[in-house]
Amino acid sequence: MKKVTVHVTLKEGILDPQGQTIETSLHSLGFTEVEEVRTGKTIELLLNDQDNVEARVQAMCTKLLANPVIEDYQLHVEEALQS
């Protein structure tokens, strides 16, 4: 089994009002060193073993998991721990 973690974030330059709100809140808590907050989402997939895991997940990202107009994504593939 492979575990693939997909991180989806808003593209650079796209306004992230949620991130800005969190930033303001962190500042009001005294964390004035925070320069920027960007939010995103994490999608974890468990896949049965096959050769082209990365290519398949890339296809999932372009077809559904991310919207290329506004979002970037990164993949991280690792061996899943058997439980």
């Binding site: 306004l15 949620q18 998991l65 506004i70």
Partner: protein, 227 residues
């Protein structure tokens, strides 16, 4: 003229759309469940508002890859009118039938109130019953109605006259205050404000019914002899 109102799990303006077409416009309409419909039998396709698939992942993303959207794409390619309102607009964007994407409203709040729109193009099959530049009152009801497209896409929309409605007081931060756009062919319209909820004076505005009347009139002129 026969309208299909496509219903997804989580659609919630399907009945409003159906009511506007049947009771106010006095045309034929069916509620078409996304798994069982054949859209070939209809003259126009309406994608209603709501929260298809709970807005999971991104608004409209899951409905955009459902089987019925393959039919919508085929029918749209043949020139059939397609109108997506609110969540229907989000589905059209996610499916690639219209350019751009939706972001959360600039101020993050869900907004539900009447907005003043400007008719930016009255030469589409959806808007001939309006005057160019006329202002109209339509309700909005969305959390993700902040239309985004890059500068290149915006320039193309402007050059092709694809911007059909704009907000007078841009409530959600949309690029160019865009409230509704058509595809290059002019037969697919997506808009966040709700014309079907502005179809009778008793519910606050009757400005929206003229959008449906435009469609019927233009369809009759193209398809029915001696009207």
């Amino acid at each position: 003229m026969k309208f299909a109102v496509v219903v997804f799990p989580g659609s919630n303006c399907d009945r409003d759309m159906y009511h506007a077409v049947r009771e106010v416009l006095q045309e034929e309409a069916d509620l078409v469940w996304h798994e069982s419909g054949n859209l070939q039998d209809y003259d126009a396709i309406l994608l209603p508002g709501g929260f298809s698939y709970g807005d999971y992942l991104r608004s409209g993303a899951v409905a955009a890859v459902s089987d019925i959207m393959d039919q919508v794409k085929r029918q749209a390619a043949q020139g059939k009118p397609v109108l997506g309102v609110c969540n229907g607009f989000q589905v059209l964007l996610e499916s690639g039938l219209l350019p751009g994407a939706m972001l959360p409203n600039e101020k993050l709040a869900f907004m539900c109130h009447q907005e003043t729109l400007k008719v930016a193009n009255n030469r589409t099959m959806f808007t001939t019953e309006y005057n160019q530049g006329e202002t109209v009152q339509f309700p909005i009801a969305h959390g993700e109605g902040n239309y985004y497209c890059d500068d290149k896409t915006k320039a193309k929309l402007e050059a092709n006259d694809q911007i059909v409605f704009t907000y007078q007081n841009n409530p959600n931060g949309s690029t160019g205050a865009i409230a509704g756009i058509v595809n290059e062919q002019g037969n697919v319209l997506g808009m966040m404000p709700h014309p079907e909820r502005a179809s009778e004076a008793i519910i606050g505005s009757a400005d929206g019914i003229r959008l449906f009347q435009s469609l019927v009139k233009n369809w009759r002129e193209a398809h029915v002899v001696n009207v």
